[in-house]
């Protein structure tokens, strides 16, 4: 069977695959499809992970090395740029598929490894180092002695539904998505279902928002559908400014058309003809991929006027967010899209009644929308069968911090956090003990190891005072100071507080002051300040309560969470800072005193030059000395000493 050119491929995919209701086709079609899906390949195919994480790890250099290798050896092979498979700490990931053989994954393929690796593979042998595993596929011949990737601890407990294609297909090609049954749900929806029916299906599926609030998606859509208006909008919220969370980027960079399909179905369900995707300005890769995806979908007639001759029109626009954390909140997001300062509004009226430009608007998270196509394809009962009572389906979770295996994974709701932390992420790297797990970003909490039996889910996390949020897990080890971490989050929230309501603007400022007070250098302190410090600590919990109760939006309401949870679980560490003026992790600079070991110091003078406070004295080639009253404990000397002559207490 011959390979089709691009126009034939387009017609083939739309006429024979997309519009094929039964999903049954003749042998010729099946073979053609296998070619497009690269289940059957004529030439070798190389898949290189080129998401943000891949590029940062050097995937573009690997790409050049591959091209050079293929040119130098006159080899014909296809190189496919995929998104990230989720295993970011193993990037750059290179998959190789020889004709008839199983697709095999290599991790950490930096440019210098390319030549040896490809030399071996093209001669049907394998270099055993760096193998991640092979992909299971019935008609492919297995590589002997290589584990399957679905048995790898990082993947074994996953349930990849939203991430089904991520990392496997090219995000730059609509053909890849169509060949895997993409846009079929949209086709079925606009031709067979009324908007009312779509809302009903989503209501039955019990899908809840993945952006933080956890509001029932079907109900939200129904509210918008029932509001009479000649103009309605759908907004896909991909702002994602939580530090340390990179999920929404991952969907867009891995499988943008799934998000587009979700957006189109949601727009149809609420009766919107315009939809917006809000992406932060500095997520450059996401922006590029999304622009390309929209252009392709328009070219294929999947977006635009009269979609599939159903009479449904949809125009899609990308809006670049100008960068403000609070703009993830839906009313601020809408304000920012109207070119206002991104400050939240009081609710009600909810955006579903009065949103963008005063029209009914549904704001949904990227992950929520990415769940939609599969629900319409497999039915609400299928979706309800995954997860727990209150929380159905799966959740994508990012793993960061000191974990052995970092990246993002998709797990069924109801899985205990300990499974994710120990089995999937592999605990703390280098086998160090785990101190705590931070969940939910700046609004989240730190859970000590004994609390890790809690399950992932809306209610179960609420019980322990956390919220699902965008769901990033950050693993912390003994080198982390909980006071300093609380201070870091408070600093962020203080900076990002929009300033509209006083409890949040002033409250976060005051809380930050208190935390800075207890980590400040005791020597510079007058007795009045000492008194203030103790007063502050006494007030901390009280203050947190007021901020929580009186703030306008989620930012203020949740701002005290990290401090309160750390106070609850790690009170002794706070007390140590307050009473003993000591930081056990050695992180709080100001509480450290530096000394020079006169036996080791050879007087190289580096530290003296670097000290910003000129607190170090000493003649060249003679041991130096730190003047304690001048030292601010910044630790620059400690970092710059090549002889380990500087120590701290």
């Amino acid at each position: 069977m011959s390979v089709l050119d691009s126009i034939q491929t387009k017609d083939f995919l739309i006429e024979k695959i997309l519009k094929n209701y039964s999903g049954i086709f003749d042998k010729g079609t099946g073979e053609q499809l296998a070619l497009i899906k690269r289940e059957k390949v004529i030439h070798p195919v190389l898949y290189l992970g080129m998401g943000t994480c891949g590029i940062v790890s050097g995937a573009d250099k690997t790409y050049m090395a591959i091209q050079k290798y293929l040119n130098d050896n006159n080899l014909e092979a296809e190189v496919v740029k995929t998104g990230c498979l989720g295993f970011c700490s193993a990037e750059p990931l290179l998959d190789i598929q020889l004709p008839g053989k199983a697709r095999i994954s290599y991790q950490h393929v930096t440019q210098e490894k390319v030549e040896d690796l490809l030399n071996a593979v093209f001669h049907h042998t394998l270099i055993p180092e760096n193998i991640l595993g092979q992909h299971r596929f019935a008609s492919h011949e297995e590589w002997p002695g290589v584990d399957f990737i679905d048995q790898h601890p990082f993947f074994a407990q996953q349930h990849r539904n939203v991430l089904h294609n991520t990392g496997l297909i090219s995000p730059w090609s609509i053909d890849d998505y169509l060949a895997r049954g993409g846009y079929k749900s949209l086709f079925k929806t606009v031709l067979n279902y009324t908007p009312d029916k779509v809302c009903e299906i989503i209501e039955q599926s019990e899908l809840r928002g993945r952006g933080g609030g956890g509001y029932a998606t079907g109900k939200k859509w129904r509210n918008a559908l029932d509001t009479g208006s000649d103009q309605k909008f759908l907004v896909c919220n991909a702002e994602e400014s939580d530090p340390g969370v990179f999920l929404n980027r991952a969907f867009i960079e891995g499988d943008p058309h799934r998000v587009l399909e979700g957006i189109a179905i949601a727009s149809y369900a609420i009766g919107a003809n315009s939809a917006y995707i809000h992406i932060r300005y500095n997520h450059e890769q996401s922006l590029m991929i999304m622009e390309n995806a929209i252009a392709q979908a328009k070219e294929y007639g999947i977006l635009g006027e009269n979609i599939f001759a159903s009479g449904f029109n949809l125009n899609l626009f990308i809006r670049k967010g100008a960068g403000a954390f609070v703009c993830g909140e839906e009313t601020s997001l809408i304000a920012s899209m109207e070119s206002q300062r991104g400050t939240p509004q009081t609710k009600p009226p909810y955006p579903t009644e009065k949103g963008l430009f005063g029209h009914p608007t549904v704001v949904n998270n990227v992950e929520t929308l990415a769940n939609v196509p599969a629900i319409l394809e497999n039915g609400p009962t299928w979706f309800r069968s995954i997860g727990t009572n209150g929380s159905k389906g799966t959740k994508v979770i990012s793993l960061a911090g000191k974990a052995t295996r970092k990246g993002f994974v998709e797990v069924p709701m109801g899985i205990p956090i300990s499974n994710i932390v120990f089995d999937i992420a592999g605990g703390i790297s280098d086998g160090k003990p785990l101190k705590a797990v931070q969940i939910g970003g700046p609004f989240g909490i730190c859970i000590p190891p004994k609390g890790l039996s809690a399950e992932i889910g809306y209610e179960s996390l609420q019980e322990i005072g956390a919220s699902l949020g965008l769901c990033g897990l950050t693993l912390l080890d003994e080198d982390i100071c909980m006071v300093s971490l609380s201070k870091y989050f408070m600093k962020l929230l203080h900076k990002e507080s929009c300033g509209k309501c006083i409890p949040c603007r002033e409250g976060t400022h005051r809380m930050l002051e208190i935390l800075e007070g207890i980590t400040k250098r005791p020597k510079e302190e007058s007795s009045h300040e000492t008194l203030e410090r103790f007063k502050g600590v006494v007030q901390l919990e009280n203050l947190a309560e007021v901020i929580h109760d009186t703030s306008l939006c989620g930012l203020g309401k949740n701002a005290p969470n990290p401090v309160l949870s750390s106070l609850k679980w790690f009170r002794d560490e706070f007390e140590e800072h307050i009473f003993d003026r000591k930081c056990r992790a050695g992180v709080c600079n100001d509480l450290r005193s530096f000394f020079i070991d006169v036996d080791i110091c050879n007087g190289c003078n580096v530290c003296q030059k670097k000290c910003p406070e000129t607190a170090i004295i000493g003649a060249i080639r003679m041991p130096h000395f730190i003047v304690e009253s001048k030292c601010t404990g910044c630790g620059i000397c400690f970092d710059s000493c090549k002889f380990n002559a500087i120590y701290y207490k």
Binding site: C53, D242, P243, F246, A324, S339
Partner: protein, 154 residues
């Protein structure tokens, strides 16, 4: 009218309420940063008070009112990078680059900015200098990079 703004007219009609943010983004892209003059021009074009535009531009992280240095340092301040062992001492960096966070050095060679997560949490600490991303940066390595940039005369 400023020719930069003139070029944008077809895409940002006066009567659309939401033209402002997009226009400022385009101006910054073309000009590198916003100036008082440009803001006045936009205000005139969109019939908006200057203070509203200034208020908007200062609210968002994206906009700046000075040029970038020849070498623009972006330091990731995401949770993961913040926590990594060799996390970058911004104070030290300010001293070395002769500038403050969000500022530019006098010789216009270096500018420094700490940014929120760059999405490469597994590789922290992450530093971006112009378009090049450096991962797992140790203080030593960063010093080396800065020294080599300082030595470069052009």
């Amino acid at each position: 009218m400023n020719e930069l703004i003139e070029k944008m007219v077809p895409r940002f009609p006066v009567n659309k309420k939401d033209s402002l943010l997009g226009m400022l983004q385009e101006i910054q892209k073309a000009h590198g940063f916003l100036t008082e003059e440009l803001i006045r021009e936009v205000a005139q074009y969109l019939h908006l008070p200057v203070n509203k535009i200034y208020g908007l531009a200062t609210f968002y992280d994206q906009f700046r009112f000075h040029a970038l240095g020849k070498y623009h340092f972006q330091i990731c301040n995401g949770t993961s990078c913040h926590l990594s062992e060799s996390s970058i001492n911004i104070k030290d960096l300010e001293n070395q680059l002769y500038t403050k966070d969000g500022g530019i050095s006098r010789d216009r060679k270096f500018s420094l900015e700490s940014v929120s997560c760059m999405g490469s949490c597994e590789q922290g600490p992450v530093v971006k200098i112009n378009a090049t991303v450096f991962t797992n940066v140790s203080p030593d390595e960063l010093n080396r990079i800065i020294r080599s940039l300082k030595d470069k005369t052009e």
